[in-house]
Amino acid sequence: MMESLIGLGQGFGIALSFGNLLWCLLGVALGTAVGVLPGLGPTATISLLLPITFRLDATSSLIMLSGIYYGAMYGGSITSILVKIPGEASSIVTCIDGHEMARRGRAGPALGISAFGSFIAGVVATLGVALAGPAVADVALAFGPAEYTALVVLGLVLVTQIGEGPRIRALLMAALGLWGSTVGLDPIEGTTRFTFGVLELQDGLDIAVLAMGLFGVAEVLTLAAAKEGSTQMVDSPRGLRALLPDRADWRASSGPIARGSVLGFALGLLPGGGALISSFASYVMERRLAKDPSRFGQGAIEGVAGPETANNAAAQASFVPLLSLGIPSNVVMGVMIGALMIQGIAPGPMLATERPELFWGVIASMLIGNLMLLVLNVPLLPVFVALLRVPQRILAPLILLFCVVGAYSLQNSAFDVMMVAIFGVVGFLLRLVRLDPAPFMLAFVLGELLEKSIRQSLLIGLGSPMILVEKPISAALFALAALVLCWPALRWIQIRIMGGRRTT
């Protein structure tokens, strides 16, 4: 504990140098920008900037690259709330209540609470990384294919709890999402599935393409089909003060922010789908805990505060396996390891002792970076909200333009642009029949993880599914999933028995 504080002090000494402050600012500002732009994600940005970092010293380059990563988490929520296009997978849930708040003239509080929530989560999770980091790092190793299978099953059970209307609709969309995730090369055999001879489909469907099509283009088409003026949003108040979350907003959000920070940190330690699962786990948890769950989907601020906090906490926590074990939690982290290896540094258990200035400098920079993001984002609230006042006949073509550019930039391929158009039409038709694309997207992301880990488990278990329940962590997660699934039935039985007692 004492050591960590000394280390953190040393880290501040490094992170507060003029040069590093500048790299940190550059990183978080770039991160916010790419988070806002659909298609262009942190992975592509960091890959593009990699050659620049060869000339930088290792600490500065990691400070900048990590700034891009967690900065993108802030930026991703802005488009989700304003125009209902998730900047990345972990902002999909934010679209639901965040955009609904914007439609009701409450874009300011929605953006504000997600900025403040992200800041609080960032600070809590970074302190968690500093104080508990190495001690909790082994959690990442405890999760093998069997444990991931159970975690993803739990995640899928939670997905079906999202979205309004009858459960059957969410289930249908989730099932379609699972099917969508099987398009492309078989993860084990490498044979092609559902590609219809189209070469580009061998890579599978791209999450960014789906998001831009099903959300962005579909939204524009819906606007175009609607009667003039009928889709106009309620105007937001002007001026920063009126846009910030008020006392009632804070009272409603403090619980979700606290719980989201803890949940996000815990799940963020797991490589793979931790950050994504934490965002909708938080959403489902808040709806269960709410006094009036029917407000969810109608612009409940808890539905923004919880998930946005959780995904940012998870983003910070994913640095634990990277810095303590040398394990990349996701593709972005993998690229960062590449950046370090080029500099002759191998992230791993020895990093904190061998290169304390790098280890603690980066951690301290995350605290500074989160503060910068808050300072950057809050004064810009009126600007972001003013975007909603742009007439739709101008805004809609702009959204289309960004989707086309974003889709092409993914892999310099016109095919992706075409897919965005196709999924735009599909998304529009889904809206006509009131099917929610959110469960589809979430199940799509989880489906890939599910198939891979379930088949890995079976290969390791020599074909026997017993491996899934023999391992304690995985058995516990399956039990939890069963509990969530059976909760309504259990409640019903409980009420029946209680009711029965009363009458006798």
Partner: protein, 324 residues
């Protein structure tokens, strides 16, 4: 009629004879494009970019690098195969897309006839590794156990059909052993599963080296023909009694039918560039071994690998030859 065609052809051939040397002398007179069929920041991308940077001043023209990972890289290969064979469109050619992919699935190009090899510069180092506290001290012990206990040994690899998987499969087959391959979609997650005791061993590239340095992982062998200078204690499989090795090579190629002088100019420039200090440093850091060949050498390796991988994949009944 026939006369006229012959005369026209003679004229055309004569014009080409005059034009070709002149064109080659000036070559290159405009920027060159190098297509990388993989995502940025991978081993192929990092090494090719470093090589390009060193080659630019030698050729006196900028080289634009474009990443086109679509279709597992097959789209990029097709695009270059169809490009004009003037030396201005090149591809970062690899054993994976040239010799392995066409046997695993349908691809829209013919490796043997669609390309002009220009040079090779390196090969991915591939290691067989176990945890440091594992009971297996040598590759022989691991394979012996796998022979006595079929399928019990689990081997983490990036994808089925990668040279790491094919190499280990051939090792097991040579010794009559049976192992279970578990693909993780990349080397890093496979190493994570190894550290977490979820699998027995991995066959991966440079991703494993930091964990070797920290003492958590032991390397049993490299699939390459020789020991790696930076890891003098790790035997090559040739030393361990196998009469083959596997070099997952990286190089530069262009479309088929490139003029000989242009090929020579590019070959010389890229070979000279591969002596660049920064390029060598990048190769070292990500554990790609040097494997330098001129155009003739690259063509030989390519032809050999197209043949040998086809035979191996057929024998293992994988990809297109899988029993359905």
């Amino acid at each position: 009629m026939t006369d006229r065609i012959t005369r026209r052809m003679t004229l055309a051939a004569g014009a080409a004879l005059i034009a070709a040397p002149a064109g080659a002398q000036d070559f290159p007179t405009r920027p060159i494009t190098l297509v990388i069929p993989f995502s940025p920041a991978g081993g192929s991308d990092l090494t090719a970019r470093a090589l390009v940077k060193a080659a630019e001043p030698i050729l006196g023209q900028p080289i634009t690098v474009v990443n086109r990972p679509a279709g597992g890289g097959a789209q990029a290969m097709q695009e270059v195969a169809r490009a004009a064979p003037d030396g201005y469109t090149l591809v970062n050619s690899t054993a994976i897309l040239t010799a392995i992919a066409p046997n695993m699935r349908d691809v829209p190009y013919n490796s043997a006839t669609d390309f002009t090899p220009i040079m090779t510069y390196g090969a991915f180092n591939t290691f067989i590794a176990v945890r440091a506290d594992s009971q297996y001290q040598t590759l022989q012990e691991l394979l012996d156990f796998a022979k006595a206990n079929p399928r019990v040994v689990t081997v983490g690899v990036s994808v089925i059909g990668a040279s790491s998987h094919l190499g280990m499969a051939r090792l097991a087959q040579d010794r009559g052993a049976q192992v279970s391959f578990v693909p993780f979609g990349g080397g890093a997650p496979a190493v994570t599963a190894l550290l977490g005791r979820h699998i027995t061993s991995v066959v991966v590239s440079g991703e494993v080296l930091p964990h070797v340095a920290s003492g958590q992982v032991r390397l049993l062998a490299t699939l390459m023909g020789e020991r790696v200078p930076s890891l003098p204690n790790v035997p090559s499989i040739r030393e361990l009694g196998f009469d083959w090795s596997m070099n997952s090579w990286l190089g530069i190629a262009g479309p088929a039918n490139m003029p000989q002088p242009v090929v020579k100019r590019l070959q010389d420039a890229f070979l000279q560039a591969s002596n660049d200090a920064n390029f060598k440093r990048v190769m070292d850091e990500i554990a790609v071994a040097e494997l330098r060949n001129d155009a003739a050498g690259a063509a030989r390796i390519m032809a050999e690998d197209i043949r040998s991988f086809e035979a191996l994949i057929k024998e293992l009944k994988l990809g297109r030859y899988a029993a359905r």
